[in-house]
């Protein structure tokens, strides 16, 4: 093994991985792809929260666990939203897409925040009711993914 080979590989890896996160977006197609991935991950967070809320209603999981699950998904959804929101839309169509998706995500994160607060307060019985809008929101996200993937 040549000396410095390992360091070089590591540097290349880091460079590639970092580029993958923050490269500039130049066309609608690329922007649309990013929008779909974002919608997918927010949908995953929403579904995780629904599942957890359902388990809470049936007394199938205990409070500390549920509050961790719910605060993690809230953080995930918020993180995806921030990353997507920070990308400059390359054209008018992209800007429209951005408005549409962010509005949807906002509604999801609002529900997720309510869920997290209720779980922290130990109000496990209320979780399922709070999570109810996530069913419809999740479907909308799925349709968004389908239309733009």
């Amino acid at each position: 093994m040549r000396r410095g080979g390992g360091a070089l590989i590591l540097a290349v890896l880091l460079a590639v991985l970092l580029c993958a996160c923050v490269g500039p977006v130049r066309s609608f197609e690329v922007y649309e792809g990013k929008a779909a991935t974002t919608a997918e991950s927010v949908a995953s967070a929403a579904q995780t929260a629904r599942l957890a809320a359902g388990e809470a209603a049936d007394a199938r999981a205990f409070a500390p666990y549920l509050s961790i699950v719910l605060s993690e998904v809230e953080r995930d959804a918020g993180g995806s939203e921030d990353v997507f929101g920070a990308i400059q839309p390359p054209d008018g169509r992209s800007a429209e897409l951005r408005t549409q998706l962010l509005a949807l995500i906002d509604r999801v994160t609002a529900v997720l925040a309510d869920l997290r607060i209720a779980a922290r307060n130990g109000e496990l019985g209320r979780l399922e009711d709070i999570a109810a809008p996530l069913g419809e929101l999740g479907e909308q996200l799925a349709r968004f993914v389908e239309a733009h993937a």
């Binding site: 991985l17 629904r50 599942l51 999981a61 666990y65 509050s67 961790i68």
Partner: protein, 407 residues
């Protein structure tokens, strides 16, 4: 029962290797994204680790030489040092991640932030390694880790449909690319054959003072322990394939591993699962911390091992102490432990042949093994796997770059 406790070395090695913090999340994610479409990669990996761990254990029992002795003896001081640096670095990252993994399990049980648990966990890991002796340690964590059988019970309750069918039809689902599929396959295979398993198992054979007479026990450890570990990871994959995949949930956190189990078995199942995760990650932390000490000591020829009192193996204990302490510190920076293990598995893949090739050579050496050298069948399988390891070692990093880490 006595027979059963004789195979806890194999069980702990496999649990620490197959269902540690990185693998728990990686297997859950694989099930959620590919259902059982990558189960074959685990099976292929289990056969490989069985073949090579058996050779390593046999050499250790008959000649008293653990794996890193063989690496040094066959590759020479220079190449073995390159392997040592790579292996130790990977080991260290994994150890750090396992410490965080134990803390994450405690967080799920208590909702106290995992960062607060890390110093306590690191101290506890070190204390067990300083004061505890090898066999009780291996029994406690190996047997407690079996609580993860709860994945199987959960799967039974969930009445899964189409799991076998998805296992029989490999290939990426429509929304995933072949590149990503292959990256996951290579990562799963690499994870089942992580080198610290053979470092730990062969050194454990010396710790337990196995000799030529214990070869049956050695074989039983390998043939039961590793397939059991593999089965646990497949069962976990099955639970997420059944519950999370249809809902479009992708797995990013340890917490999500609990959702299918809670759905199937409720609070009791979840509690058992958390015990299992605690034991498996704690066991993996012990395994990687010891492996770090074993590899360094065996490269330099220092006295190592839990079979002597600490002041008889001072440099070994110094390495273990430093690795555990620095690992805890690394995790206090709040880097994502799951990302750390996932990348360390990929980096480990590149060093795989440098560890397994020397084992294969020495397992054929009459000077070490006398009449206990490999038979033809073992050699044929092992040669095929060596080729596979070389392919995996060269393919992993390009695949990782191509697929942006399987994103």
């Amino acid at each position: 029962m006595k027979r059963f406790t004789e195979i806890t070395l194999g069980i702990l090695t496999a649990i620490g290797g197959f269902v540690d913090i990185g693998d728990l999340v990686a297997n859950a994610e694989t099930g959620a994204r590919f259902r059982m479409g990558l189960a074959w990669a685990v099976v292929v990996g289990v056969v490989g680790i069985v073949v090579y761990a058996e050779m390593a254990g046999r050499v250790a029992a008959v000649s008293g030489r653990p794996v890193f002795d063989l690496v040094r003896e066959r590759l020479g001081a220079r190449v073995a040092l390159a392997n040592l640096l790579a292996s130790f670095f990977i080991n260290f990252l994994t150890l750090a991640a396992e410490i965080a993994g134990v803390a994450l399990a405690l967080e799920l049980a208590s909702s106290v932030n995992y960062l607060l648990w890390i110093p306590l966990v690191a101290a506890l890991v070190w204390l067990v390694l300083w004061r505890g002796s090898f066999v009780p340690m291996e029994r406690v964590f190996g047997l407690l880790g079996l609580a993860l059988v709860v994945f199987g019970v959960a799967l039974w309750h969930l009445h899964p449909e189409g799991l076998l069918a998805s296992a029989m039809h490999p290939g990426p689902p429509t929304n995933e690319s072949w590149g990503t599929y292959l990256f996951f396959a290579v990562a799963l295979f690499g994870a089942t054959m992580t080198p610290y398993e053979v470092f730990f198992f062969s050194s454990g054979a010396v710790e337990e003072r196995w000799t030529r007479r214990d070869l049956n026990v050695e074989r039983a450890n390998v043939l039961i322990g590793f397939p059991l570990g593999g089965a646990l990871s497949l069962l976990l994959m099955g639970t997420t394939a059944t519950v999370l995949a249809p809902r479009g949930i992708t797995v990013e956190h340890l917490s999500q591993v609990g959702l299918p189990v809670a759905l199937a078995l409720g609070k009791v199942g979840l509690a058992v699962l958390l015990v299992g995760i605690f034991a498996a990650t704690f066991g993996a932390a012990l395994e990687t911390a010891l492996s770090g000490g074993y590899t360094v000591s065996q490269y330099f020829g220092w006295q190592w091992g839990k079979f002597v009192r600490p002041n008889k193996a001072p440099r070994f204990h110094l390495v273990v102490l430093l690795a555990t302490g620095l690992g805890g510190l690394l995790m206090l920076t709040a880097v994502d432990p799951i990302k750390v293990t996932e990348y360390s598995i990929v980096l480990a893949a590149a060093a795989l042949p440098l560890t397994y090739f020397p084992i294969l050579i020495v397992a054929n050496d009459r000077d070490y093994l006398g009449d206990r050298v490999n038979g033809r069948v073992t050699n044929a399988i092992a040669t095929v796997y060596l080729g596979l390891l070389v392919v995996v070692a060269t393919a992993t990093i390009p695949l990782m770059i191509m697929t942006k880490g399987g994103a």
